[in-house]
């Protein structure tokens, strides 16, 4: 039988598949979390005659745009890191790109804190109305995920230092990458839906 042949022969391919199936389920779960938030957003947006409601001003785009640049660049540097890592590059060739990703991710968090400080200085508080609540809740929840993702990126440093690249290291790099790109996509959606339009 064709199926039974898989049992002993291709253990590495099997582990790769298991890891990617599990990661798909993880990302579906996270997508549903953010999808529910977007549902709440559209619920308020559709039922409100004007947007933002109650004569509120739109959020200034300066800090959100900076955040966008930071996170998009970090996704790109991660792609370079991954290409070099799987290309069998030496540690001193791959590590700078991983560090660059982490620094850009930290930069993203810095722009988020600046955004919150800026909003507060304009009297834009979470408790002032539903528009403010939406802006703050989206950014809080997304930022909490970014913090976890940054920790997993830091965890990749010892993985990269390790000379050998077995299937276990490969899965770690792939999955952290998927999670990071996922948060990038979620931020882009948030940027256009909440801040731009």
């Amino acid at each position: 039988m064709e199926r039974t042949a898989i049992l002993h022969s291709d253990s590495i391919e099997g582990k790769r598949l298991v890891s990617s199936i599990a990661m798909i389920v993880v990302l579906v779960s996270f997508s549903m979390l953010f999808a529910s938030l977007f549902l709440g957003y559209s619920y308020f947006r559709i039922t409100s005659p004007v947007w933002p409601p109650m004569g509120m001003e739109k959020v200034d785009l300066f800090f959100p745009t900076l955040s966008t640049f930071a996170i998009v660049l970090s996704s790109m540097t991660f792609m370079v890191f991954k290409a070099k890592y799987f290309g069998g590059g030496a540690v001193n060739k791959t590590m700078p790109w991983l560090v660059a990703t982490i620094i850009l991710g930290a930069g993203f968090m810095y722009t988020q804190f600046s955004l919150w400080a800026d909003l507060k200085s304009r009297g834009f508080y979470a408790s002032s109305g539903v528009f403010q609540s939406l802006v703050y809740s989206f950014t809080w929840i997304h930022a909490a995920h970014i913090v976890i993702a940054l920790l997993t990126l830091l965890y990749l440093i010892p993985v990269t230092m390790n000379k050998e690249c077995t299937i276990s290291e490969e899965n770690k790099v792939n999955n952290v990458g998927k999670f990071w790109h996922f948060l990038d996509v979620v931020w882009l959606l948030m940027y256009f839906i909440i801040f731009v339009i």
Binding site: M1, R3, T4, I6, L7, H8, D10, S11, I12, E13, G14, K15, L17, V18, I21, A22, V25, V26, V28, S29, F30, M32, L33, F34, A35, S36, L37, L39, G40, Y43, F44, T47, S48, P53, M54, M56, Y125, A126, S127, S128, G129, V130, F131, Q132, S133, Y136, S137, W140, I141
Partner: protein, 577 residues
């Protein structure tokens, strides 16, 4: 078709690594079983207190009443009553049924029945259990906060659950506990889905899986997709309560902007309706298998049963609006939701007919697991039929929020799932602990539970149809409900009978686990699924050799099998295959 060879953890030697922080799916399953049985006990005592207040208003609760409510002389106070029904619902759904069916039997049965050595991610499995323990600690801890536990109903509708409705910290702890439990269940779901896809024994296609695994697998898929939705709702509720956001405030409560309490109902029921199927699907699967095993016949239309469970899984995501007919939805929407809801009865009827087809002309053996499975067929039939009245807009507008609803969802979610759990416990007990439960006491337990349970829930349908609303502390202050005192007293006596008959089960269970001497046969029920081919209790790492599956789970005398046993596998041809 196992994708790879699993990593084998060394056999644990210390007590802590064996029973506390275990990687072994069988031990984690047993941990969840104890956790769920404790939850059933706690939620059950709360149910009895609620029933006592409804049947004997103003009388002290017997035995423990005077210690718990000294300021009222043992009478349950109104605010405590609200906490009781809230915590009863929450504990029974999230801390009793979910851990027993999904936690315990999901963990225990999936690797054994698909022929692998452990779950795909044993560490995540362990974390899932301990997160569930943390969540239970948060929830039980909320009972001891200054203003008491959450009291807004298990649905936690705003504005009952916002700071206006419940100012105490209890409701916040409730939302956090549910969020943590959501993470735990999602981790479990990731594990189950991956395990079923990748670790089936060689030769086992999806339709060769026992229907139990089908039920658990579909449940895991629903869990992974919809628990995060509840998580988002819970997070926003916590933000509203702690950081002063305005999602669910409305009217005078909101200082500016326009929050909306109904948004929470949408989010809650987008999760909540699939949750109903999350709870019932494993029970359906277990019952489908047990009916076949004890009728000594292949499951009638097993493929159709699996496919109709799948289509119910899909449909269940599209019908949540039928919980919200009274929220001023547009008639177009209510009719759409009504039609979709009615569509569910088609696949339900298919597998229900398959159950009856399975036992038709079978050689039925009335062992305790079979009795409980037949009980599920009966009570789920009743629960499903009463659901038609609630899914129809015109009748639901009258029945909404009455005891009819309470009776309906207890028949489907409580009675069916409880009987399914008992069937599973009696059935897999020899494989879990290596001991059989006493059959005679098992049968007495079944009949007393069946009597009490139907007295309670059928009575609820009557009082609900007569117009008694749920969640009222003392409904009899209303003139038109005063004639319902006798039937409410009857319901309460039935509940007491049902509660007391569980003592039989607890004694039977504890006696078998701790003091039972008799070692069982590896296959006491003479069935052919993979878990019965190994010794009882299941050894460390389950299968000495991974079996090669030759046919479906319910086939007897299949000519493909070279052994003289009716197992669905053989290990002899492992190398050549």
């Amino acid at each position: 078709m196992a994708f790879y060879e699993q990593h084998i953890h060394p056999k644990p030697t210390t007590f802590i690594s064996k029973y506390i922080f275990s990687y072994d799916h069988k031990v984690i399953g047993k941990q969840f079983l104890w956790y769920g049985i404790l939850g059933l006990g706690l939620g059950g005592i709360m149910a009895l207190m609620i029933r006592w207040a409804l049947a004997f208003p103003g009388e002290a609760f017997p035995l423990i009443g005077r210690f718990m409510f000294p300021e009222t002389g043992g009478v349950i106070p109104p605010d405590t009553y609200a906490m009781l029904f809230t915590m009863h619902g929450t504990i029974m759904i999230f801390y009793a049924i979910t851990p027993i069916l999904i936690g315990a039997f999901g963990n225990f049965c999936i690797p054994l029945m698909i022929g692998c050595r452990d779950m795909a991610f044993p560490l995540m499995n362990m974390l899932s259990f301990w997160l569930a323990v943390l969540s239970a600690a948060l929830l039980v801890g909320s009972l001891f906060t200054p203003l008491g536990a959450a009291a807004g109903g298990w649905t936690a509708y705003p504005t009952l659950s916002t700071l206006i409705g419940s100012p105490g910290v209890g409701q916040t702890l409730w939302a956090v506990a549910i969020f943590v439990l959501g993470i735990s269940s999602t981790m479990g779901a990731i594990n189950y889905i991956t395990t079923v896809i990748t670790l089936r024994a060689p030769g086992m296609g999806y339709f060769d899986m026992p229907l139990t695994i089908w039920g658990l697998w579909l449940t895991a898929i629903l869990n992974a997709i919809f628990l995060p939705v509840l998580g988002a709702g819970g997070l926003l509720l916590v933000f509203d309560r702690v950081f002063g956001t305005q999602f669910f405030l409305a009217g005078a409560a909101a200082t500016s902007g326009t929050g909306d309490p109904v948004l929470f109902q949408h989010v809650f029921w987008i999760f909540g309706h699939p949750e109903v199927y999350i709870l019932i699907l494993p029970a359906w699967g277990i019952v489908s298998d047990i009916l076949s095993f004890f009728s000594r016949k292949p499951a009638f239309g097993a493929k159709a049963t699996a496919l109709s469970m799948t289509s119910i899984t899909i449909l269940s995501t599209l019908v949540y609006g039928h919980h919200m007919y009274t929220t001023q939805m547009s008639p177009l929407l209510t009719q759409t939701f009504m039609t979709l809801t009615m569509t569910i009865s088609i696949p339900s009827a298919i597998f229900f007919a398959n159950w009856l087809g399975t036992i038709w002309k079978g050689t039925i053996k009335f062992d305790t697991p079979m009795l409980f499975s037949l009980g599920v067929v009966f009570v789920f039939g009743l629960g499903g039929l009463t659901g038609l009245y609630l899914g129809t807009v015109t009748t639901d507008l009258y029945l909404h929020d009455t005891y009819f609803v309470v009776g309906h969802f207890h028949y489907t979610m409580a009675a069916s799932v409880l009987f399914g759990s008992f069937a599973a416990i009696y059935f897999w007990m020899p494989k879990m602990f290596g001991k059989m439960l006493n059959e005679t006491w098992g049968k007495i337990h079944f009949w007393l539970t069946m009597l009490g349970l139907n007295g309670v829930f059928f009575g609820m349908l009557f009082v609900g149809y007569a117009g008694m609303h749920r969640r009222l502390y003392d409904p009899f202050v209303y003139d038109f409900l005063q004639k319902l005192v006798p039937i409410n007293t009857f319901i309460t006596w039935s509940a007491i009978l049902m509660g007391l008959s569980q003592i039989i089960f607890v004694v039977n269970f504890c006696y078998a686990v701790f003091w039972g001497k008799e070692e069982t046969d590896p296959n006491p029920w003479k069935v052919g699924t993979l878990e019965w081919t190994i010794p009882s209790p299941a050894p460390h790492y389950n299968f000495a050799e991974i079996p090669v599956v030759k046919c479906g789970p319910h086939e007897l005398g299949n000519p493909n099998l070279t052994t003289d046993r009716d197992f669905q596998y053989q290990t002899e041809e492992l190398v050549e295959a």
